[in-house]
């Protein structure tokens, strides 16, 4: 085990653990935000740069600070490493810069975006963004495209985290989409508008941190915070069948995987509970699910505010 100190809190972790995962073992404010890293998809991370942290001491053997901020999701810890996340002004400034870059070409169409309320970029903007943009140029724009009859791609909203590419690489039998072009013109797309048809392709909607990939069976049906998330299961031959169904009255509006507080699909019995497309898109009748009870949304996000918050920090002031 190696010891690492993050924001003044010491933790012992397995050698080879990344700074971000060490911070997640501490939890709370010590955890840097991550837009592209996804612990269930090996190889992700390093791209969005929101998880940059300051390394004040490289290791016990060589306690010099690292000159640059490092991506905590892809930098392994060393014994005696001292990391500053929330406590570093430099991290705060540069993370604000990264958020500004991510928002530079983002359309800010939250009022009509299905992801609003559970969007990681909203959360990040809320915490690190500035109230006013300095970006006066025209934003790059793309037309929304259908990739298959179940998934809609709004490239304007994409932050190029590459998570969906990793889903296609690791969960489906063949990848038909990827990143075309480069630089500011880079876009997620299928080659010549091919449909993404695969039993597990719907998971790319769950991993998308923004509203770039949305569920065509749910689009514009409801704001997510009007729906009641319920834990449900059904026996499925393709996947684990453990899901969250989002209900309004007795009607199921959408089906998603069960996600943890970092927005990642949960592991159930040590296996990531990815959903197959049948469960996600076709089973919208409540009789097809065994509904277990309300789902706890354990995430600092708009969706968790008020209605779904399960822990009350302060006693509510009684009116009257």
């Amino acid at each position: 085990m190696v010891k690492v100190t993050i924001d003044g809190i010491e933790v012992s972790v397995e050698p080879g653990t990344t700074i971000l995962n060490a911070a997640r073992q501490i939890g709370g404010d010590a955890v840097p935000p991550a837009m592209c890293y996804y612990s269930k998809l090996p190889g992700t991370g390093g791209k969005c740069r929101t998880c940059l942290v300051e390394v004040a001491a490289g290791s016990a053997a060589d306690p010099r600070p690292l000159p640059k901020l490092v991506a905590s999701c892809s930098t392994p810890v060393q014994d005696g490493m001292v990391v500053n996340n929330k406590t570093s002004e430099r991290v705060h400034n540069n993370r604000g810069g990264v958020v500004e870059f991510l928002l530079a070409n983002h359309p800010l169409d939250c009022p009509i975006c299905d992801q609003a309320g559970e969007c990681h970029l909203q959360d990040l903007g809320y915490e690190h963004g500035s109230a006013k943009t300095r970006y006066e140029e025209d934003r790059r724009t793309f037309d929304p495209i259908d990739i298959g009859n179940k998934i809609k791609l709004h490239m304007n909203r994409c932050i190029l985290c590459y998570r969906c590419v990793f889903v296609a690489n690791q969960l489906t039998d063949k990848r038909v989409h990827g990143v075309l072009h480069r630089g500011e013109h880079a876009e997620i797309s299928t080659y010549i508008q091919e449909a993404v048809e695969n039993d597990f392709s719907g998971n790319m909607i769950d991993v998308c941190p923004v509203g770039a990939l949305t569920d065509r069976t749910f689009r514009f049906k409801s704001r997510v915070w009007f729906l009641k998330p319920m834990e449900a299961e059904r026996s499925c031959t393709k996947c684990c069948g453990k899901a969250v169904v989002w209900m309004f009255g007795n009607e199921i509006y959408r089906v998603t995987a069960r996600k943890d507080k970092y927005g990642e699909v949960e592991a159930i019995d040590q296996k990531t509970a990815w959903l197959c497309n049948d469960c996600r898109f076709e089973k919208k009748d409540a009789s097809e699910w065994n509904i277990l009870g309300p789902r706890v949304i354990n995430r600092q996000s708009v969706i968790a505010q008020g209605k779904y918050a399960t822990t009350i920090d302060k006693p509510v002031k009684r009116i009257g």
């Binding site: 390093g46 740069r49 000159p67 892809s74 500004e100 870059f101 190029l160 500011e184």
Partner: protein, 447 residues
Amino acid sequence: MNNRKLLLEHLEVPGIEGIDVYVKHGGYNTLEKALKKMSPEEVVEEVKKSGLRGRGGAGFPTGMKWSFLAKPEGIPRYLVCNADESEPGTFKDRFLMEKIPHLLVEAMVLSSYALGANTSYIYIRGEYMYLLEILEKAIQEAYAKGFLGKNIMGSGFDHDLVVTPGGGAYICGEETALLESLEGKRGNPRIKPPFPAVKGLWGCPTVVNNVETIAAVVSIVRDGGEAYAAIGIGKSTGTKLISACGNLVRPGVYEIELGMTVEEFIYGDDYCRGIANGKKLKACVPGGSSVPILPHYLVTKTAAGEDRLMTYESLADGGFKTGSMLGSGGFIVFDEDQCIVRNTWNFTRFYAHESCGQCSPCREGTGWMEKVLHRLETGKGQLHDIDLLADINKKIEGNTICPLGDAAAWPVAAAIHHFREEFEWHVTHPEEAQTRNYGLIQQPVVA
């Protein structure tokens, strides 16, 4: 100063691109010497002694890079030559490969022997297709003469050399993007660690070196590392190819001994012979487009008033405040008629076009800077845009996966630092700026 030529020694010999003439002038003798009389460790030792530093831009000591190479049993190792020379202003490798291709072939076999690599690759820039033919011909000649293939010159060392063209992306000059591209994937830089010395091409330990770096190994092994180290000053040893371009009387590729003064290089009769058309020097980018620009009063003298030398240290003297970098040796000279704002915009446009788009600061930042600079250049900018540019810069620098972000940020930061008045003049005199150049006004005059 007598100027020894190590790389371009036989440049003027007719037919040196063919193997017969090359062998007649001592070609492949060094390879034979190494294979028959030296162990691989001894070759590495000579390179370490020579003090050779990477000629691609970063200037990392080559011997040290070679000694980092992991050597696990039963796993092949690779040497990859980075011939993806795409930095604006740099064209030295092209010259070397075009004129004396066998020097690179010999050096590749020699270096591979030192590193224990049985296969090596030359990754050549997509736009250099005609060089591909030249190199392939040289490689075939070398195979026919037994300098490549099985059991080279009876030494028991087998080696295959493959030359592969890229698709013409600047980013593929970054070593890990190059390896991705060589593997047939999209040329995105990899997240480090692991470094190529541990996990490189196809997951095997790999050394990636610039063309000129590898080519220098031949003269180092021939004359010994100490003889090479005797040339130059301090930690800048040996000779360096400089590709000089811009408003010079005689632009071109020159092999210089490190330690020559910048003044002699620009104005000397054997070199660039001064600024063309009797104009005055306005600014200089001494190491390819990604290094900070120097205003004329800091080109030949450092801020402390000492002579500026063509060495890694002297060009970097003063840090990024009053210095620059030797970089890849792409020496770009601007006369008084050139517009710094336009030039900065042009460089930034290049980086915005070449950013791979993988990490957010570079993808969004380079494009943003390009748009702001274009507004400034076309007279549509505002004064706060200059501060905005400086701030975007700081948010990109050091926060990206690979050095392309830094390379895009540095020239803009330096241009604003040294030529702020000119940027402001573009804002305050938008119409005049379209027809007339800012020139040398308000710059301190140096005799």
